[in-house]
Every structure is written in C-alpha cells, then in structure tokens.
Assembly symmetry: C2
Homo-oligomer: 340 residues x 2
C-alpha cells in the first residue's frame, strides 16, 4: 500500500509534528523545522498536525485549529518538507489513534499521569491546576498512541519532552508484557540543539500566545517592522555607547541566522566596546532573515490551497493505512479481533 | 441503511448491555433480561456486549472476555431477545465510540470524574483506591459515548447507576453548549423493579465472582444441585420446627419466580409455623426454575455457534453504521471534517 512507500525509503521511522494553534514562526524553524528538512532524508518521517491534541486545551476554539491546519501545512511545504518523502497528516483523520489511546489508558494509572512533570508544568502555565480537563491530563497517552501507531523509534524532542518519551516506553513495555507479545516498539528522543529563539520583545521565548514572533509567512515589510522594533540594550542610547550583547534579541537572532560566525564575533566585540549602532546591526539581521524567508515566501506563493489540501488528504490516507495495520495487530494481541 | 431498520420500529432508542466477564445468571434475568425482552417491542433497542469496558478492569484477562462474549450473546438469544428487532453488538467493533470518548474527555474535569459515586464504590470494591487505571476512571465518559452514539434516550439502570446517567447528560449539555448545536440527546434512566437475587449461599447478591449463582446455561442436574444446596434457615432442623422466611434464599427465589402469589403466601405461613420441610420447598422452586430454564435451555440447544457469530457480526455492523452517522455530525460540529 502507499503507506509502505515512506517506510521502505529508510530504516527507522521518525514521528514529529505540531499542534495547530497558530502559524509557525522562526522559533519553530530553529527548534525543529530546519532539522526536519534534513531528517526527512535520513528517516521515514511522519509529520503530524496534532488537531486532536490541540483540542485538549482549545476545545472551545475549533475555528483557530481549523484555520491553523492550513497555515501549518503551508509552512511545512514552504520550508522544504517534501510530501513525496515525508508523510504530512492530520491527527483527527487517523481515528485508529483514538482507539489505541483507549486501550493504552488501561495500562496507565492516574497517579502516574499526575506525576508527569511536562503535564504538571503545562497545567500550571495554563492556570488549570484546579480544573483539569481529563483530555488534557491524558494527552501523554494519546502521544504514545501517535508514536506507536507508526512504529516510530525516533522522536525529535526538547529536553522538557523527555518525560513524554518515558511515558510512551512504559506503555510499550506494559502492553508487550501484558499481552505477551513483542509488538510495540520503544522510541528514543532525538534531542536537538537548544535552539530556542527569544521573542522580539525580549520577554521569554517567541510564542504565538505572546504575539512576539516573526512568522514564516510574514511579509517583508512586517519582518522589517518587527526587526526594527526588536529589544536590544535599553542603555545603548548613542552609537558610541558600549552595548550589551547578552540579552540583546538582535544578537540572539544573529547567533541563530548569521552564517559567518567570525564576522558575528567581530560584530559582538564592536557592539560591546561602542561605535556600532542598533539600526546598522538590525540591517544585517534583516538581510540574514530575508535570505532565509525570501525563498520560503516565494515557495509559499507557488502553493495553491488545493495543493495543500491534496497533500493533507493524501498524507492522512497514508498515515491511516499504516496506523490501521498497527491497530489490527494490537487488537489481535488483546484478542478482540473476533471476526478477523 | 440497515441501521435505520431498528430506528423506524419505534420512536425512542434504548441502550443497554453487559460487560462480558462471565455467563449470565438468574440475577441478570430478574434484574434486566426479562425486562429487555419486553422493552424490545417498545423501543428501538441497542444491546451492547461491552468488551472495551470489561477491559478497563480485566485488561490482563482478554481470554475471559473473548469467551464470555459468545456466552452472553447465547444467553441473550436463549431468553428471547430477537436479533431481528434488537441490535446486539460488540462494543469494540464500533470504534466510533472510542473516538467520541476522546472528544468528550475534553469536556470533563478530573475532579468531576473522581466525584462519581458509582466509580468510587467500584474502586473501593476492587481495592483500586491507590492504583487507579485511567481507563477505569474514565469509563463513565466511555458510557456517555455509548449512549449518545445511538441517540439513546432510554437507559435501563439500577439506582446505583443514576450518577452515570447524570454524567452523560452533563457531557451532552456541555458539548451542545460548547459547539453551539442541539446535536446530542439527553437520556433518562429507566429504573427497574429492585429485582436483585441473593446468591445461593445467602452471602450477598448472586455474582459471577462469588460463584454463587444459577446460570441460564446450567444443565438441569446442576440447577438441582444448586437448589438443594441453597441456604435456608440454619435453625430449621426438623420439618416440624418453625422456620424463618426472611433471609431464606429459597423464599427469595420463590418470590421472584413463583407465579401464584397466593400459594406463595400460604407456603410462607406454613414454613413459619412449622411442618413444611426444606426439601419439599426446594422441590417447588426447582419446578418453577425448570419452567423458566427448560425453554431457555431448549432454545440454546437450537442455536449454532455460527448463528451467534452471525448475529454479532450483523448487529455490530448495524451499530457501526448508526454510530458513524452520529460521529460524522459530532466531527462536523467540532469543525474537524476538513475533507467532508
């Protein structure tokens, strides 16, 4: 079947994705997208637009999710994820994942879920400490279903997502032990370089909710406005003043996007001793960003809405074919394949 | 479609069923089966063999569940549930229910689940107070999916299941309000007469786990042995001794199965004042039970394994057709029907 095409192109399966709760920005590019474009040639990649997971904390905002799916898929295609190599799919279009989730829920205790540090931190961040939606609490189980459905062994993840990988592997071992099979595969995190970008306002990391990010789909004039509004060193009033590099958002972005590292070292020294103005510096960054975003923007302009929908439809079907194979084996292992 | 056939036969939909964790016994007959045989003519009935729910507290005993499905279905057919009128189906063969469950999980808080008195009592009974499987904790949400999938408005239930109905209706209202639809239907419990039978040992109610029940599939000699072993009045040593009616299991069964209530009153009085022996009394009960179980046994003998499997396959398909219609509307209401 078509789902096997992705499998045969490489040995191991990689699973990654995003919650569709807004457009993707440069932080996503540095933190994951850039890497995915390379990894798609190394692993059989499944890239999931996790709408079911997005619903766990946005269940009352389905419109945001619906719109974001198209944006996120366009971002993927614009940065160079190749739908002929990687499988791009929408989580809700693979209902086999919900079925796996239900069976895995029997193998996890409430106490174990409540101990998950990632979920704990997110609950605190969202102010959901007293009123926890069950769907949100259980999303690590849903993730285990996502990963195992495709027999993924490689999961690109930040340090903070290590507990999710551990939860998945616990479920894998528990399932295999309980039903006396060696069916589900353990996975491992592929920890990327700590490439988090700060927001343009210098207040924490770039994020959709803080509206302090440069989006991959931003027009050139918008990027220019955002770069010019970037937080630098508030004490660097005159060009001749010595300026601070640490905490200066322009330098954080240059460190991520300026390829000539020697030149960057010179710029940092120059800025620190005085004589290098913010506007000059921002002009350099803008050139770097446009070198990246220009081709992304050009590619996006070539992509029709119909093409994006076609990619999502085709990818979701491939993903469903693969997940259905896993589910059939899971049902058989549990012994509920009565009519098979 | 074939699923509509059941719908058109009556106005309202009724949902009921059993966890397949053993054969059905006289307690089930008095408590629900007897009633279902009548209700199938009044409501469009869906009768579910709840294997997914049985897995929540028997996940390590799938063989028991697998075997019990055939037994329970045979019990249904033997007592007179007509597969041409009622839809008999296996829960796991309607995966749409798991998908509904996942979406409903976003609408229920952990605190709300932990407050459910039925779940609390069951957890205590099973000794699962410290190590609660998430699947078990969430089964009321799964039940809400069962009920709403078929637009059931009538749910036969014991008093102790009233909290389940309330949980379902809360989800129904929350879903309709959140997605601004009037899609899901509230349901009501149809509280039956409190027809619980005690176990033959007089220790609590008849139950599979205590092995103190008379099964609908028991052979005549087994029924005879069980009746002869029934707990009566331990102080009723000689026939001439006065005997106690209260707490006497034989009288509990006669109250359930002896049709001539006037004659029963006479027997009770005779036993109380002395002169009526246990063996005579048990002979009367045995005749009553055989009048019921004889035809059930005869019917079971006519039912082939293939026929039972065919009923389950056909019923599960009908149920799936109906549940898929509901799910399509639910997905559309949430707005995740991207390719529809």
């Amino acid at each position: 079947m078509s789902g096997d095409m992705a499998n045969s192109s490489a040995g191991k399966v990689l699973l990654t994705g995003d919650r569709p709760s807004g457009k993707l920005h440069l932080g996503h590019y540095v933190g994951s997208l850039q890497n995915r474009v390379l990894l798609q040639h190394q692993y059989s990649s499944y890239i999931m637009i996790a709408d079911v997971q997005a619903l766990t904390d946005n269940f009352e905002r389905p419109d945001l999710i619906r719109e974001s799916i198209y944006e996120v898929a366009s971002d993927y295609l614009s940065v160079g994820i190749d739908p002929n190599i990687a499988v791009i799919y929408i989580q809700s279009q693979v209902p086999e994942i919900t079925e796996l989730t239900i069976y895995y829920m029997n193998l996890v205790t409430l106490a174990r879920l409540e101990r998950n540090p990632t979920v704990k931190a997110e609950l605190a961040q969202k102010g959901m400490t007293t009123s926890i939606p069950v769907g949100f609490l259980c999303y690590p189980i849903n993730q285990a279903a996502d990963i195992t459905a495709f027999e993924a062994e490689i999961v690109p993840a930040g340090d903070d997502q290590q507990p999710m990988i551990e939860q998945t592997n616990e479920i894998v071992r528990s399932f295999n032990r309980t039903y006396n099979v060696s069916l589900l595969k353990e996975c491992q995190a592929l920890i990327g370089k700590a490439g988090r970008l700060p927001g343009i306002d210098g207040k924490g990391k770039a994020s959709k909710s803080l509206n302090n990010a440069i989006y991959l789909s931003d027009a050139q004039n918008v990027v220019e406005e955002k770069v010019m509004a970037m937080y630098t060193d508030p004490d660097h009033l005159k060009v001749t003043d010595p300026g601070k590099v640490a905490g200066n958002v322009v330098f954080s972005y240059l460190q991520a996007f300026h390829d000539d590292k020697e030149e960057l070292r010179d710029l940092e020294n120059h800025y620190a001793r005085g004589g290098l103005g913010d506007v000059t510096l921002k002009g350099i960054l803008l050139k770097d960003l446009e070198a990246l975003l220009g081709p992304i923007r050009a590619k996006r302009a070539q992509i029709s809405k119909d093409f994006v929908l076609d990619v999502l439809r085709t990818g979701s079907k491939k993903a469903q074919t693969k997940a259905a194979e896993t589910l059939a084996r899971v049902r058989s292992a549990i012994g509920i394949d009565y009519f098979a």
